[in-house]
Symmetry: C2
Subunit: 355 residues, 2 copies
């Protein structure tokens, strides 16, 4: 099995290195091949997603991704900026299902800005559609306004679009995932305002007929944003579109206060996937050896489970992460009095040892 | 001065009644005229925004609005549902600037789901553009997909659009409002993905030249959702588009844990405005006399300040609300041990008395 390793920018290389060490410690036969992406791709080949990197990602059975972005690329034109690599990989690989767990480990309950009773034991999963919606809808651009009250002046515009197939396939992923959990699915939309999301609601309701064992609830996105703050534990699985999912999954991640712990998976129709930590490239702390590698290590565990069919190895990695937390080891981002502060590589080594 | 009173549905009538009592206690010459809106509008005239109601709102110097929506109207087709009245009023009256303060009163710090140190003293203001964006952009609908990977099948679609004038005028409101506060403005966009919001960022940056005394920061919407949870007090004024503002303003309101306290103003170019509580119609508690009228009373205070040019009276009303809180009076939604639980009308009467 071939895994494409795309470390990227900022803390990407350091955290991916630790996840690779964990994979290598499993005594499985993985072929790992590394390529540049993001700012590093631009620096080496003039494009954030160089042809060779895309080719490798397509050939591989799974992609382990670090993070992209650095201040030094901020002034590039949009098409060349690091984050375009993520959008390009999602679209070219057809990675339409983004799974983002928001889990609060009991040992880290204090890290949250929310009161312990509101978030302790939090375990929700946000499923975000990742290749449709206003992220990719054509037409888009800046033009002379063709009609309406501001006809004739300049305007920016984008198109939100969801076709029936796109909604059905993410709905199936969501219902099937809910079946393996607490069998409760909240579909988040804005059906009271948007035609796209009235259509979304209709299709999700239709797909629900095939999953009578799952309780389906529809919720407006503004209300969902409130309920995530008010009573996040009431959710089990949330499914939503690309744009709303971008916002809600980050809000949900932050509820835990320990975004350095949260992995993510982006899957295609055949469970091939790209795996990356939910946090960003944190260029301000890059190279200091203080970044938390656990989100990336847990992303590798998701990869073992979803794309490489190694559920047992995934369990082992997740258990090892729990063990190092129980041992009191903490990187700076999750450190608190009474625990032991360790570096990026010490944390990685501790996980390898705990395997 | 003429004020249109639109109580609406659910708890709307009971809370508006108390705000009207407060206005009447001010000994000013206001002409108050009431009309049906929302579900009540549909029930009486077959439309959530009856012609007579719209006419009254247009003629009036300001509109005091309760809330709309009730379970019994849920099965109506979208064009007839209660919330269409809000959208219709915003659009027809040109109410493009929505001001939503998220303030945590010291007495109510315990109501928040966030830790006291994270939210105590919270005082931020979200300015949401209210008549543009994907809320109103044409074309929109359900159609046969004209192109792309799903060409030929059914799709839902909407158009996000912002013309230069629309962005400039809300930016001016935002900078001018920030000048009267802590002189810090965060413009929230998604310029890394959306053409509309790259354009938004460019225009806001341009308008900033006229307000060199205000510190302007640009922030992506996903990051803003995170920062609201992580460190909300770092914000002063936030300005954003209609769709992002819908989500972020509700999240921000919920940070306080006391959404029954939060007013809002929706202003046109001449400071004519519609004033309404940030919370909804809560049909489940309608008629029980337990709803919190303070958000509506504080909305009336905003009306005095912004549309009726009675800043002193606005101050009086706001001081009276602070006084009843200091007296320990609480409606059920903000009640905690050691305070005195009062009904909707008792709370209203206490504010009148405290004036
Ligand atoms: C970097 C950006 C394009 C991306 C997105 O908006 O999807 C990021 O925020 C994410 O959530 O992965
Ligand atoms: C009722 C709905 C159309 C409305 C909106 O989305 O603007 C509401 O959520 C609000 O924020 O006032």
């Amino acid at each position: 099995m071939k895994i494409a390793i795309l470390p990227g920018d900022g803390i990407g290389p350091e955290i991916v290195e630790q996840a690779v060490n964990v994979l290598n410690a499993l005594d499985e036969k993985f072929e790992l091949e590394t390529a540049v992406v993001g700012g590093a791709g631009y620096a080496a080949h003039g494009h954030p997603l160089p042809d060779g990197t895309l080719k490798l990602a397509k050939e591989a059975d799974a992609v382990l991704f670090g993070a992209v972005g650095d201040y030094k690329y901020d002034s590039l034109e949009r098409a060349l900026r690091p984050e375009q690599a993520i959008l390009g990989l999602r679209k070219n690989l057809g990675l339409f299902a983004n799974l983002r767990p928001a889990i609060l480990y009991p040992e880290l309950a204090g890290a949250s800005t929310l009161k312990p009773e509101v978030v302790s034991g939090l375990d929700i999963l946000i499923i975000r559609e990742l290749t449709g919606d206003i992220y990719f809808g054509q037409p888009r651009g800046v033009r002379t306004s063709p009609d309406g009250a501001f006809k004739g002046e300049r305007e920016g515009f984008d198109t939100m679009r969801y076709a029936e197939t796109e909604i059905r396939r993410i709905a199936h992923v969501a219902f099937q995932t809910a079946q393996k959990r607490d069998k409760r699915l909240t579909s988040v939309d804005k059906a009271n305002v948007l035609e796209t999301f009235q259509f979304w609601r209709d299709i999700v309701t239709d797909v629900h007929q095939e999953y009578p064992d799952v309780a389906l609830e529809h919720m407006y996105v503004d209300n969902a944003a409130m309920q995530l703050v008010r009573a996040p534990k009431k959710f089990d699985v949330i499914v939503t579109g690309n744009m709303f999912g971008d916002i809600l999954s980050d809000a949900a991640a932050m509820l835990t206060g320990s975004i350095g712990m949260l992995p993510s998976a982006s899957l295609d129709a055949n469970n091939k996937g790209l795996y990356e930590p939910s946090h960003g490239s944190a260029p301000d702390i890059a190279g200091k050896g203080i970044a938390n590698p656990l989100a990336t290590i847990l992303s590798a565990a998701m990869m073992l489970r979803f794309s490489l069919n190694k559920a047992e190895q995934a369990d082992r990695v997740e258990a090892a992460v729990k063990k190092v937390l129980a041992q009191g080891l903490r990187t700076a981002d999750i450190f608190e009095a009474g625990t032991t502060k360790v570096s990026t590589s010490e944390m990685g080594a501790a996980v390898v040892k705990a395997l």
